[in-house]
Subunit: 326 residues, 2 copies
């Protein structure tokens, strides 16, 4: 474990400790038990770490943004709870999703409450410059909602361009990473220019993260991955790989990809065939290149950070996300 | 129409105008059309007016809190959209509810977006003292969620005390009215003491409003009411009247009230019988007294307002709500 990973794990303990005590003694339990259930179900806590990193980049301290860090994790968990209802998902992080464990009404309400609790925690770390921080935070939520709406639209749309897709993941995934870096930097008193650079880091990192997610669905090692390889194809998801394959393929193979849209997914046994098409069409290497492209943009954006150790922390995280196996 | 009603109608036009233009040109339409649908479906816009009144009480101007006024209406509409899903309600203000007009996923997402849009509008009117205003606003949302959670709990609980019920409506209904007056006053620069008084006005007004709602369900004039008289009994709702009747009744009649709980409602044809029980038990006059009690508390709280015309506006509204027929 290198010094950056050690630092991440160390901060994780503090974040986790705060999360574990978020709802102590709160009533009614019919509301706070479900909130607690989702918040304690784990996750990499990457978003809170981005808030801390944002503060570090400006010379701020982790301890001054810990509540803000927790707030973005609370917000992220709200999106998981409501998205799982919309996606009819039964399992999340190896556990029952909230609306399955409880019911849909409880899950809607717990998610709503998590939004407000996210603001409540963020406000704890706001001293003076709270207007801009809260505007960024709020804009982040709006983008997430817009992104999720596009995502739902795409499920039923026959034609989705690669640009449409990139806009959707920019809103659904990258906007939150951008906001995390932004509010961390703002709370530490960063200049407009510095904040813009931090936002660019977060946004590009978020794009790389989502494209890597799309990639792992087909290239991951089954033993390590924890999910079925090719699950996106089975569900008929219009991922970057899929849309790129649709664009590059011709004739019979293009028809086969089109039939995945028409049938809203492919059979499990057809996954190896489509994986071979992906390889032959060069779609896997295209996507890898895009991941590296976005990662390099992210790294370039934080050139402004003078402290070498802090700058290297940003570079370490970007590379760690590229090299992840699940 | 007296001068106060004229003033209310006049402010209403400004609020309505802002609401009508809230989502102009916003994309995706799959998200903003539903948001627009619910926001344009009417309503008394009482909550925005409370924000304006809160500002007036401190010597502030309506035009400086119009965005904040809109924000509480946006927030209120979020609660309607999500509550209607939980309550399986098909009709609201004579129109299809959002999840019926569109679908449940769309309604969840539109509601989420409305929360963020509420913050966005509130932030437009925050100058400097935004931390306290946002804390009050956020605390309001948390109380609404807690209140809704209690309300859902009570549906399945056999025993609910009058105190339980009062706590529930304080959170579900009165907390929002309290918050509206509070943020209006805070944005106009009110002192802590003034804000506390304004909050007491809003909270007591909210309590009176909800108890009057419970009362109208059985005492309203069918031609004026627009809903079925006794609908709460048919749905088996544990209203103030119902819980009071349960407390005061004995023997055979108590058993009949208990059977409404057991059967999760009564038959339509039994409404006149229960109405007679309510009258005989004095439950209707008990509730009327409580309405007047809360209204008087509200009016007493705004004694601090020096400007007579403004103070009378607060008194006019409190009395107008008692005297409403639907």
């Amino acid at each position: 474990m290198n010094q950056y990973e050690k630092y991440y794990k160390n901060e994780l303990v503090k974040i986790e400790n705060k999360i574990q005590n978020l709802f102590n003694g709160k009533e009614p339990s019919s509301l706070y038990d479900p909130c607690s259930y989702i918040m304690k179900s784990g996750g990499k806590r990457l978003r809170p770490f981005l808030v801390i990193m944002g503060a570090l980049a400006i010379g701020g301290k982790s301890k001054d943004v810990l509540n803000a860090a927790v707030s973005v994790e609370v917000l992220h968990n709200f999106t998981l709870v409501h998205d799982d209802i919309m996606d009819n998902a039964d399992i999340r992080r190896g556990q029952k999703t909230l609306h399955i464990k409880y019911d849909v009404s409880t899950a809607i309400l717990a998610g709503d409450n998590l939004i407000a609790l996210a603001y409540l925690n963020l406000l704890k770390d706001c001293k003076g410059n709270c207007e801009n921080v809260l505007n960024s935070f709020t804009q982040g939520i709006i983008e997430i909602c817009e992104g999720q709406s596009y995502d739902k639209d795409f499920e039923n749309r026959k034609s989705v361009s690669l640009d449409d897709y990139l806009l959707m993941i920019q809103k659904k995934t990258a906007a939150l990473a951008e906001m995390c870096c932004s509010i961390g930097g703002q709370l530490a008193g960063g200049s407009k220019k510095e904040i813009k650079q931090l936002e660019a880091y977060g946004r590009n990192l978020g794009m790389a993260f989502q494209l890597q997610d799309d990639l792992l669905d087909i290239t991951a090692d089954q033993a390590e991955f924890g999910k079925i390889i090719g699950g996106d194809l089975v569900e008929g998801k219009k991922t970057y790989l899929f849309l790129k394959a649709l664009e590059k393929s011709k004739g019979k193979i293009k028809k086969e990809f089109e039939s995945v849209i028409k049938n809203k997914g492919c059979k499990k046994e057809d996954i190896p065939k489509f994986k071979k098409y992906y390889e032959e069409l060069g779609v896997i290497s295209d996507t890898s290149k895009e991941v590296i492209n976005f990662t390099n943009k992210a790294i370039k954006a934080v050139n402004f950070i003078e402290d070498e150790k802090t700058r290297n922390l940003f570079i370490w995280l970007a590379n760690a996300l590229i090299n992840r196996i699940k």
